[in-house]
């Protein structure tokens, strides 16, 4: 009986966490892959449920833990392992109708970011697209916050140098 009640509580807190974090997680994937964001979200949720014993209780920590799972799922996907999930069918169909035309400028700017060292690009995108703090990024990258600050500065200078060489307009 106690197991049943605990199971129900696990499920309720998991679903609540997913409801809160899923839009940001989906954007996280959508910004970094072309087609697979819904499947990667499904993969993240499946992994998170499988590892729910590791899920921290404080909401802010739970959210960042979920981002950590998402980061690993993305890394696996970028290494070439692709999975399709029936769970994601509806969301995938909906997303395909939501993609707007990318501007040439946006494509060019993202190409500049993609030319950075991966750890620099990750710092700058997590900071500006996901709005994560340096401390949160340090937690994800498993390095000291000072290292993240250094990476951010290197990314900033590298992008400034690229912009001065290319015709991408600056504001």
């Amino acid at each position: 009986m106690r197991r049943a009640r605990r199971g129900t509580r696990d499920e309720a807190s998991f679903v609540a966490l997913v409801e809160e974090a899923s839009p940001d997680l989906l954007r996280y994937f959508a910004r970094r892959v072309d087609q697979d964001a819904a499947d990667l979200l499904a993969e993240t949720l499946m992994t998170a449920w499988r590892r729910r014993d590791d899920l921290p209780s404080p909401p802010a920590e739970a959210r960042m833990w979920l981002f950590g799972v998402a980061r690993n799922v993305l890394a696996n996907a970028q290494r070439g392992t692709r999975r399709r999930h029936a769970l994601a069918d509806v969301l995938r169909r909906e997303m395909s109708t939501d993609v707007l035309e990318d501007t040439t400028e946006a494509v060019a700017l993202r190409a500049l970011v993609a030319e950075l060292d991966p750890e620099l690009a990750e710092v700058v995108t997590l900071a500006h697209w996901e709005g994560l703090s340096f401390v949160e990024i340090a937690d994800l990258q498993k390095v000291a916050p000072a290292t993240v600050r250094g990476r951010y500065r290197r990314a900033k200078l590298a992008l400034a140098a690229s912009l001065s060489d290319l015709s991408v307009p600056r504001e």
């Binding site: 199971g7 499920e11 998991f14 679903v15 997913v18 409801e19 899923s22 839009p23 997680l25 989906l26 954007r27 959508a30 910004r31 979200l41 499904a42 949720l45 499946m46 449920w49 499988r50 696996n76 290494r79 070439g80 392992t81 692709r82 769970l87 994601a88 069918d89 509806v90 969301l91 909906e94 997303m95 939501d98 993609v99 707007l100 035309e101 990318d102 501007t103 400028e105 946006a106 700017l109 993202r110 500049l112 970011v113 700058v124 995108t125 500006h128 697209w129 900033k156 200078l157 992008l159 400034a160 912009l163 991408v168 600056r170 504001e171």
Partner: protein
């Protein structure tokens, strides 16, 4: 100068963000349904997963302390770990057959425990029909499963899809062409995939959605390559 650069970088990154108009509410509804479905599937298939878990998650053996480098390997002995006994449902399975492994060993597979448990709060456009379970059960009881399954086709699929073992933060490629390739393991996985494909294809061909349909399999192998 830093402040100027920070402002310029923020503007640049805002403009570089993908132009997507995702509705937070819509995503929350879909993601919440996905989360509930994951929980429901996990509970429905818990028994089957318990049977297979020990064999599908091999142990990583790290190099001994003092070695020049830590060699990561896969202990296939865990893969072939036998369940203690046949599950209750497997004593009266809907189907059973024996097949030979490439290395000369053999496995007996029992299939049954057909269940129908679609998520109650699934999206409205996802159909489900309890007749799917009857169709699956009838197929298992009447078909010659050993002849019906296409193991070679499943092996071809496995070889096109990188496979990883994920354990305690490590991911190890283990399929064809990797250092951890094992022909018996590949064949065993392909047989299980082929059974799944055959059952689901039959149900779909009969005109029923496979939503919420589940079944269990259990096997005992001997003489396998480790």
């Amino acid at each position: 100068m830093d402040d100027d650069l920070d402002g310029a970088l923020h503007a640049l990154m805002t403009r570089a963000d993908r132009a997507r108009e995702l509705s937070d509410d819509g995503v929350r509804v879909r993601a919440s349904a996905m989360a509930r479905a994951i929980v429901a599937q996990d509970r429905t298939r818990g028994r089957r997963r318990r049977v297979l878990a020990a064999s599908l998650v091999p142990v990583l053996v790290l190099g001994t302390a003092g070695a020049a480098y830590a060699a990561v390997t896969v202990d296939w002995g865990r893969f072939w770990m036998q369940p203690a006994a046949w599950e209750t449902w497997a004593l009266t399975p809907d189907a059973s057959f024996t097949y030979a492994l490439p290395g000369g060993g053999s496995c007996e597979v029992r299939v049954g425990d057909v269940t129908y448990s679609p998520a109650a709060d699934r999206p409205a456009d996802v159909p489900a029909d309890p007749a799917a379970a009857d169709s699956a059960r009838e197929y298992l009881r009447t078909a010659d499963l050993a002849r019906a399954i296409d193991v070679d086709a499943e092996i071809a699929k496995l070889r096109q899809q990188p496979m990883m073992y994920e354990s305690e933060g490590d991911s190890i490629p283990f399929g064809y062409g990797t250092d951890h390739y094992n022909a018996d393991v590949e064949y065993n996985l392909a047989v299980k995939d082929a059974v799944f494909t055959a059952v689901m294809s039959h149900v779909e061909a009969a005109g029923y959605p496979t939503t919420g349909l589940g079944f269990s399999s259990q096997e005992r192998c001997e003489g396998e390559q480790r």
